[in-house]
């Protein structure tokens, strides 16, 4: 192990990983290139589009500007960690049912941001959904069907 390598131990989607990463390596790189979890998308590499959003200890972060070396002991959750083999999460299912997916490139990041939102605010209002999405760009949908999806997935809990 050279000087610019860092050993970290973290969980990704509840699976333990011991990784040796370079000092400058982003979490997005580690996910996509080391763990081959390509569901998390690389949009801008500037922390602006939100396509790379994952949850670190339950909070949404832009994985393209977060150093993996800082994640020792953390719990990372990606789109591959939503739902299970048999069924989709409520949010994922609502995205399918309300046509909230078009090209789908922003979708994983949207779902992670919104998963964090509904874990903190179980029945968000449309305005709360819109403001939670202030770091997630979608160029296809104009956002309405994404907002509808969250309301559909969470409304019955109100």
């Amino acid at each position: 192990m050279t000087d610019d390598m860092v050993a970290i131990s973290c969980t990704v989607n509840e699976r333990q990983h011991d990784l040796v990463v370079t000092a400058g390596e982003t979490l997005l790189d580690s996910l996509r290139n080391r763990l081959l979890l390509t569901g998390t998308k690389e949009g801008c590499m500037e922390g602006e589009c939100g396509a790379c959003t994952v949850l670190v200890d339950g909070l949404p972060v832009d994985s393209c500007i977060l150093a993996s070396a800082s994640l020792d002991g953390c719990a990372v959750r990606t789109v591959e960690g939503l739902g299970d083999r048999e069924s989709l999460s409520h949010l994922q299912q609502a995205f399918v049912d309300t046509a909230a997916v078009q090209c789908g490139f922003c979708t994983p990041g949207m779902l992670m941001t919104l998963t964090a939102l509904v874990e903190h605010v179980p029945s968000p209002t449309p305005d709360e959904v819109r403001s939670a999405l202030s770091g997630n760009l979608c160029r296809c949908t104009g956002y309405q069907q994404i907002v509808d999806a969250v309301v559909a997935a969470t409304g019955d809990r109100a």
């Binding site: 949009g43 939503l82 949908t141 104009g142 956002y143």
Partner: protein, 760 residues
């Protein structure tokens, strides 16, 4: 109906929400190299020297290519003006100069930085004004030697890429007898498509053929363009398409593919290329910046006697599809509103800026902005209500557009005005200080280009649709084509599987552009499905010992009319056919026939008619903050003719998404040029709309089924962006009481307009 008209989910929706859908950028193959591009750091200059010695010597570098190594000549879609790599001079910031292939992208980037490049910079021809000035430096000194596709002839001269000039000869006389002459000049900036997945290519070379995996809107054009660039036969190129992370027109031409293919051959290894985001905005082809001057001769009673229109739009350093787009003003002025006559001059101009090109609606949004702002201006001058003036000016069915093409169903537009009025009564909208209402209308086309589709009955009774059509997000393939096929055999859409494009396997298709997929490919799918149905009936008839005409196909089975018990399943039919007459499949092709027009009306029109027109009325209600200059969109209503909504939720998504892009264009998005170079270099500075910025669009669907379309469907996805800037600008102008003649309508523009109104 078993499938058409239902809001069924996309076939790729589950994969996309799970993150398992493979986009172009997710592809990797063993042994692949990574290539990066040395791009011009300046807008214009002469290449004095390129020394690649240090780059070649860097460990991990496999190849470095400059213009000297590449195919010579120039290529393009319409004008052959683009060199493989810049050879003697650079014509825009970002123009590719050299390629590096290496073990990793990081090594390739490091090698690019080691290339010793000397450019003698010259002052760029940065603006339309500079490019058109007498004695202006030519962006391409050898422009006269550039060939054109098919030898096409149109007005070209130095920095003038193309000119379309229509002058019926009676315009000046109309101005002489006019009561009023109203003149406006409108300006609009560029708009960046801002799709999230950058362009990419993954190329391999084997046994004399190139295989290129991409996320691309138009695989067959890509095949042909790669072949043109590399000077090989199109059959030597195979394009395999994957999920596309947005395109909106930016992924219709060759991008990185020919570079990756050439490097794969030279290196004997697969080569992957992906643009970084800054490269992407340089290579995007943005919607062009333009200036539109409109003069109208008007009679006191409101009759428009003549328009005199002068449109100048920026091609950037290369022509792309600009010569074809130069025809579009011919369909925007004097088309829906009556005008006695019209002179329309459109010029497409070379500058030392990144090339412009296709973006949803191409130059429609700014032309309708100009036309509809001008209509408001005329109405205000005449003291006529703006909506009433439009209704009085609206032409009737059969009205001839400037190309001589009749709009047979133009009265749909009058119906659209009425439907908007029912939903949002004009007299009640935009009331109160600093509130305003705007209305705008448009006619748009459905792209007619060719499609082929094969439909097969599988032995389990499901259907397969084999097509090169691409779904860049609209759902036209993943819902629409499946629904159209399903309906033909009374199946639900989940019983239909549709392929991804592969130019070796799937029939020709002209790509996801101009809302064509549901209408044109859908028609081919419908026709092929009809043939499959005939074969199903023939086979079932012998199985059931009945005449084909006595059979009913529904819910996955075939039965004798009135005797449901005498039935066979589609699976039994499929198996029986396979082992008797052979597997059931049918292929059909379709191109929208050209509508009638006058071919002699205007020389140089490469885009001569407006097939399968659709009709649109948009209404916007806004509120302006006099302190911040901020515009809030309180209400947005769209009334759109779709022929037949195959999937209402998908239609809603296209309309909502297009309006969001249109609001960005109208109000916030910046893509400014300074000395030929883009100023805004990040998503944040572009000012793209966020979830908080975009209201829920109220949609009124109109369905006048089009006989030629599958189940009556026309195009949907492109046009809802077209009238947005016009409706918003009219609403803001109404709110502030002063004209709005430029886009985007930023806070500065609004505050300036408020001040002008106060001084008036």
């Amino acid at each position: 109906m078993s499938a058409v008209g239902l809001s069924v989910p996309r076939s790729d929706a589950e994969a996309k929400v799970r993150g398992s859908a493979t986009f172009g950028v997710d592809l990797a193959v063993p042994g692949m190299l990574h290539a990066r591009i040395l791009r011009s750091p300046v807008a214009a200059g002469t290449i004095r020297s390129i020394d690649t010695t240090a780059a070649r010597a860097l460990p991990g570098v496999h190849d470095v290519v400059t213009a000297a190594d590449g195919p010579g000549g120039r290529t393009g879609v319409i004008v052959f003006d683009i060199p493989f790599l810049a050879r003697d001079y650079v014509a825009y910031e970002g123009e590719p100069i050299a390629l590096v292939a290496a073990e990793t992208a990081q090594i390739a980037d490091a090698a690019v930085a080691l290339i010793d490049l000397h450019i003698d910079e010259v002052a760029p021809v940065a603006t339309l004004e500079q490019a058109m000035a007498p004695g202006a430096r030519l962006v391409h000194p050898s422009w006269a030697d550039f060939g054109t596709a098919g030898g096409a002839q149109f007005g070209r001269d130095g920095n003038l890429v193309a000119e379309v000039f229509s002058d019926p000869g009676d315009v000046d006389a109309a101005f002489e007898v006019a009561d009023l002459v109203i003149e406006d000049t409108y300006r609009n900036p560029r708009q960046y498509q801002a799709y999230l997945e950058p362009k990419m290519a993954l190329a391999t070379y084997e046994a004399g053929r190139y295989t290129i995996q991409v996320s691309h809107q138009f695989p067959f054009r890509l095949r042909d363009r790669v072949a043109q660039v590399l000077q090989v036969a199109p059959s030597a190129v195979r394009i395999i398409g994957h999920h596309i992370g947005g395109g909106f027109g930016a992924k219709l031409d060759v991008g990185l593919e020919a570079f990756a293919a050439m490097l794969a051959r030279r290196c004997g290894r697969p080569v992957r290329m992906v643009n970084n985001h800054d490269e992407e905005r340089l290579a995007a082809p943005c919607r062009a910046n333009a200036e539109i001057r409109v003069r109208s001769a008007v009679r006191r009673d409101g009759a428009i006697l003549a328009h005199d229109v002068d449109v100048v739009f920026d091609s950037g350093a290369y022509a792309n599809n600009g010569p074809a787009l130069s025809s579009i003003p011919m369909f925007m002025f004097g088309s829906i509103y009556r005008a006695g006559t019209a002179r329309i001059r459109t010029r497409n101009i070379y500058t030392n800026t990144a090339p412009t090109g296709a973006y949803r609606g191409v130059n429609g949004p700014y032309l309708v902005f100009a036309m509809e702002r001008h209509m408001d201006h005329i109405a205000n001058e005449l003291g006529i209500d703006r909506r009433a003036f439009r209704l009085a000016s609206l032409a009737d069915d059969g009205h001839l557009m400037r190309n001589g093409q009749p709009l047979e169903e133009l009265s749909i537009l009058r119906e659209a005005f009425d439907l908007v009025e029912e939903r949002a009564p004009w007299a009640e909208q935009g009331k109160g200080p600093l509130r305003g209402v705007g209305i705008a209308a448009a006619v748009w086309l459905t792209n007619p280009m060719p499609a082929q589709a094969t439909v097969k009955l599988n032995e389990d009774g499901t259907l397969g649709v084999i097509t090169s059509a691409t779904d860049n997000g609209s759902g036209a393939v993943t819902t629409g084509l499946r629904q159209i096929a399903a309906e033909g055999l009374g199946l639900t859409a989940d019983r239909v599987v549709v392929t991804m494009p592969d130019t070796d396997l799937t029939g020709y298709d002209a790509g996801s552009q101009g809302s064509r997929t549901t209408h044109v490919v859908g028609r081919a799918v419908r026709d092929a499905t009809t043939s499959v149905r005939d074969l199903v009936l023939e086979t079932a008839a012998s199985m059931l010992e009945a005449a084909p005409d006595d059979l009913v196909v529904e819910e996955g089975s075939v039965h004798v009319a009135g005797v449901p018990a005498r039935s066979v399943t589609l699976a039994q039919v499929g198996q029986t056919a396979t082992s008797s007459r052979g597997p059931i499949a049918a292929t059909s092709s379709y191109v929208t026939p050209s509508p009638p027009y006058d071919p002699l009306c205007t020389p140089g029109m490469l885009f001569s008619a407006w097939p399968t027109p659709t009709y649109h009325v948009h209404l916007a209600e806004v509120e302006v903050d006099p302190v911040t200059g901020q515009v809030t969109v309180d209400r947005y209503v769209v009334c759109q003719e779709v022929g037949r909504a195959i999937n209402p939720d998908a239609v809603q998504g296209q309309v909502q998404g297009a309006v969001a892009q249109g609001l960005g264009y109208a109000l916030w998005e910046r893509m400014d040029l300074q000395e030929g170079v883009y100023v805004q270099r990040s998503f944040e500075t572009h000012g793209l709309p966020l979830a908080c910025d975009v209201p829920a669009v109220e949609m009124i669907l109109m369905e006048h089924p089009e006989e030629a379309g599958p189940y009556g469907a026309k195009g949907v996805a492109e046009p809802p962006i077209v009238p947005v800037a016009a409706a918003i600008a009219n609403a803001v102008a109404d709110a502030v009481g002063a004209p709005i003649d430029q886009l985007p309508i930023t806070a500065d523009v609004v505050l300036d307009a408020i001040e002008r109104a106060a001084c008036a």
